[in-house]
Symmetry: C2
Subunit: 279 residues, 2 copies
Amino acid sequence: MKVVTAIGEMRSCSRGWKSAGRKIAFVPTMGFLHQGHLSLIRAARKAGDVLVVSIFVNPSQFGPSEDLEAYPRDLDRDLEFCREERVDAVFAPPEEEIYPEGFSTWVEETELSRGLCGAARPGHFRGVATVVLKLFNIVSPDLAFFGRKDYQQFKVIEKMVRDLDLPVEVVGLPTVREADGLAMSSRNKNLSVGERRQALCLRRALLRAREMVSEGETRAAAVRQEMEGMIGREPDARIDYLEFADPETLKPRENLRPGDLAAGAVFIDTVRLIDNLLL
Amino acid sequence: MKVVTAIGEMRSCSRGWKSAGRKIAFVPTMGFLHQGHLSLIRAARKAGDVLVVSIFVNPSQFGPSEDLEAYPRDLDRDLEFCREERVDAVFAPPEEEIYPEGFSTWVEETELSRGLCGAARPGHFRGVATVVLKLFNIVSPDLAFFGRKDYQQFKVIEKMVRDLDLPVEVVGLPTVREADGLAMSSRNKNLSVGERRQALCLRRALLRAREMVSEGETRAAAVRQEMEGMIGREPDARIDYLEFADPETLKPRENLRPGDLAAGAVFIDTVRLIDNLLL
């Protein structure tokens, strides 16, 4: 397994694979890999001839008061995982390789990025779109794999690829969960034992929302109120947002129907967790 | 010569050339080709194995009160020129192929785009950067050719290519001029005979600025005042901007030195003309 830190070297690897007619499958990550990432890596392993994983905690998608510093990192452990999964190359550039001094070009999706996490984290999806476009240009993948836990991110990237005519097929895979249902996230590592117990409140509230809608409830406000009550019972939980939206346009919905997106973000003390499901 | 209107067909042409190891040279244009374009096309013909010219009047780089409708067009004449220059493919997509309904992803360079034409035409370089990135993704050129009459555009595209890791070499070529010195521009077509005579005022003022600086003048304000006087003598001329800037950062300069960029935009009645030189 190659571990590549320079853009030029990564690009020349990819150029070699391309000219040999090999199909490149790519999994971009921020590292601290968990079972969710492994499900992407395994699907990519099957779909491509060559498998590249990137590990880069992208500073431009974190706001000034967010958890860039606290984001968990363990490159050695990540490389071990990647070796076991027969990854061909890990691209783990230093920050200055991706954002050299004077960097000034940004990619912004302006519709799907507006609500949900985009409203709660201004600039977040600009950072995501920019780094993903850069990684695509460096790695030249035929296929790229993303988790649907970050549903809005997946839709924004899909849209960017379509709008900017990128020659990449974007694949979204289902959220992988702990035994009790908590969505796998690198940030779960930052939960204390007591917080870990409370962290499930968002998943439970989303399941309750689905139940209410399946029983005929259509009023978003009523469902949200019920969810707020459930989450409010946890002492360290603070709702960032709970929204219902069209699963394609991500426009907010006031009248719910089965198939709508329900998505939320909840802080458990300082740890921000997200989850979603289709009602 | 192929004339291609669909993205998919253009992409499959390029893919074929690439896999045959042929080097693609690309000249993106808004059509109504003149000698300036032809100098780009001829340089591209020599530099690459395959030569692609695009013809697309890009609506997203025109402001709401600008001359999108009045921009001159003559596709048949352009195709004739291209045939004579042994162009391999002309990519001339309809607007809805480039900007389908719901298009929502934009590329923006935020530093070099600020002043000069960027200040005078808000959103202009966002439109330029977005369409050029799209065209690069569709055509997959190894080399792309731009005129230095649009000096700021050239620098913005160079910066975008560097920041977004695009695998393209950007080449800038000198401004081609009429016998009397007027910079070639598709918009010159829209000048009446009387306006055509007045149009030279910007070029003359820029040459006078260079003369003043070579004689030791360093005060931008003094040079600008002299230029304003020269342009002000033409009855139909109205200055959009006259600026002096660092030729790399495009930051404004108050104290001039040889090598600085002098750039201006002047309306001759409704026709906006630009020109620049290094002092």
